[in-house]
Point group: C2
Chain length 337, copies 2
Amino acid sequence: MTRKGGVSSKRPTIYDLARIAGASPSAVSSILNGSWEKRRISAATAKRVIRIAQEQGYAVNRQASLLRRDRSHIIGMIVPKYDNRYFGAIAEQFETMARAKGLFPVITCTQRDPELEFEAARELLSYQAETLVVTGATDPDRISELCAASGVRTINLDLPGSKAPSILSDNFGGAKDLTRLILKRATEAFGAAPPLWFVGGRQHDHNSMERLRGFRAACDESGQPFAPQRVLMPGYSPQKAFAAMEGAEIPQQAAIFVNSTIALEGVVRWLNQHPSLKAVRFGCFDWDPFAALLPQNVGMTEQDVTGMLAELFRVIDAGGQSSTAAIKLPCILRPLP
Amino acid sequence: MTRKGGVSSKRPTIYDLARIAGASPSAVSSILNGSWEKRRISAATAKRVIRIAQEQGYAVNRQASLLRRDRSHIIGMIVPKYDNRYFGAIAEQFETMARAKGLFPVITCTQRDPELEFEAARELLSYQAETLVVTGATDPDRISELCAASGVRTINLDLPGSKAPSILSDNFGGAKDLTRLILKRATEAFGAAPPLWFVGGRQHDHNSMERLRGFRAACDESGQPFAPQRVLMPGYSPQKAFAAMEGAEIPQQAAIFVNSTIALEGVVRWLNQHPSLKAVRFGCFDWDPFAALLPQNVGMTEQDVTGMLAELFRVIDAGGQSSTAAIKLPCILRPLP
DNA sequence: CTGAAAGCGCTTACAG
DNA sequence: CTGAAAGCGCTTACAG
């Protein structure tokens, strides 16, 4: 009897348990996966098998089990980063909620790299995921197409696509509210409305553009001039935001709309190197409990992660071909003292 | 020919590709998994099969493939949280480094719940993980035993266990250095050494106790009295830290050793509600770029995540039965202006 | 050089 | 009521 070599050779199978328990492999299988009630196997046998399984440290081979079963119950998620409050919270709550629904969540982190995103999606298809949640992807439609070919449903989270339902923050409304707050606070601080900058994110990124649109709407509404040269969208990284600040000519009385805490890291690092600018006020589209304590910070916009995930699972439960329309959730504006 | 029902019915198999390409399933398999070079299959056939696979959106069934193969190359990790810089960075870098080594990382988040930790470990065993990295677990030894029964190696990260190699920060040394810095800065600020508090973490937690030991060593060394009633270890959460602060009687000239950014959230929230205490100085054992900007913060201790993971993979590559000794990496003390 | 066949560990419809 | 047998999709040693 040849057994698989390597590490797995020690793992007991249902055949091992059956031999030890003096039962058939079929019986062992049904006892261990709970379908034995239907089969009227004697409680004594069931107990014995369960005890032996425990003694042997048996763990079902999920690969074999999934291969045989009709459904995998695996739900995949790709997410750009873990190490930031927003995506960290998304990943964590997604796992918890998926488990609570009896699904097996598998998450992978794709570093905002379109190729990695695509490879990760393909990988999750290989694992027989039944649904794939595509979070903050640069090219969600390409992934939706790949998955559609295998009959796997995708749902876009955070960034929208055109080939699957999308669940987003109301970036326009949130940015408009935040801009209003920044204008109000800066005007109070300086006695007059100062020039207003927009820093962070990138051109062609849907959320950044929506936020810029909200920013602009709030400017227009209050009669503030909108100046394209005061819009700095160098991409997502503290370093890039820092470099963009270097290039800008920020006066001592200014206000900044910071697009994401990632950009904020660069902005505050730069501000700290320019103490003459300590009067500058900013607000940030994103939430971070420590950033909320910075004295120049007038307010932060928190995205409703729990609400977005609740909506996500609502769409999943609804099943079928949901529309590809975007569902937008309001953001929570947190003014700071 | 009955095919599996449900979602998977659309997924093409090597048999489908073989039929379309006019080749044998064996040939298709070896072409797609790269072993065809050995088999001297004609380049023309290979090309054709690869093209057809792409057209059909073929993705190998990892379950079937793993079931048949000798090794899974899966490396599992359990981690308490994602939504915090330290564990977020661990998860993210772990994924990247594992992939670079040709392994398949699977991470699951266990919320510091011992039962969830155990269930997650069992789950990863079921997925045929060959190695399990047990990060910050409350009971790593129980997991090591479970895995040992299946011949699966475990390695403890961040919190030590006695049944597997452990990779840790030098919590004692890091805490001692941080305490020295806090004492020095507070003495400069107040003209004399103020009473020193220790806030955060929990009793019986190895890292917390090591840090407390380092804290105490630095107190002793500098002739500061160590007062047990100034040690508050209410567990890991901002709320608990906040409540502990409520109960303490902190004077206007005081200094605090804050054990983790999680506790720091509660501490600063409390300090902000007590403006009379704005002279209080603190340092924090953990790193966060925004917390680093808080004016009362004299320094932060960054754990060397990259170094720990490099060490982790060194131990894994070394294979065999490495000792169960703990490997301790120095922390990086970041004094703040 | 290449394909048919065995078998990975499980699940479940089916025969007895 | 219960066990033997088929088969999930793949990989690879083996026969030709």
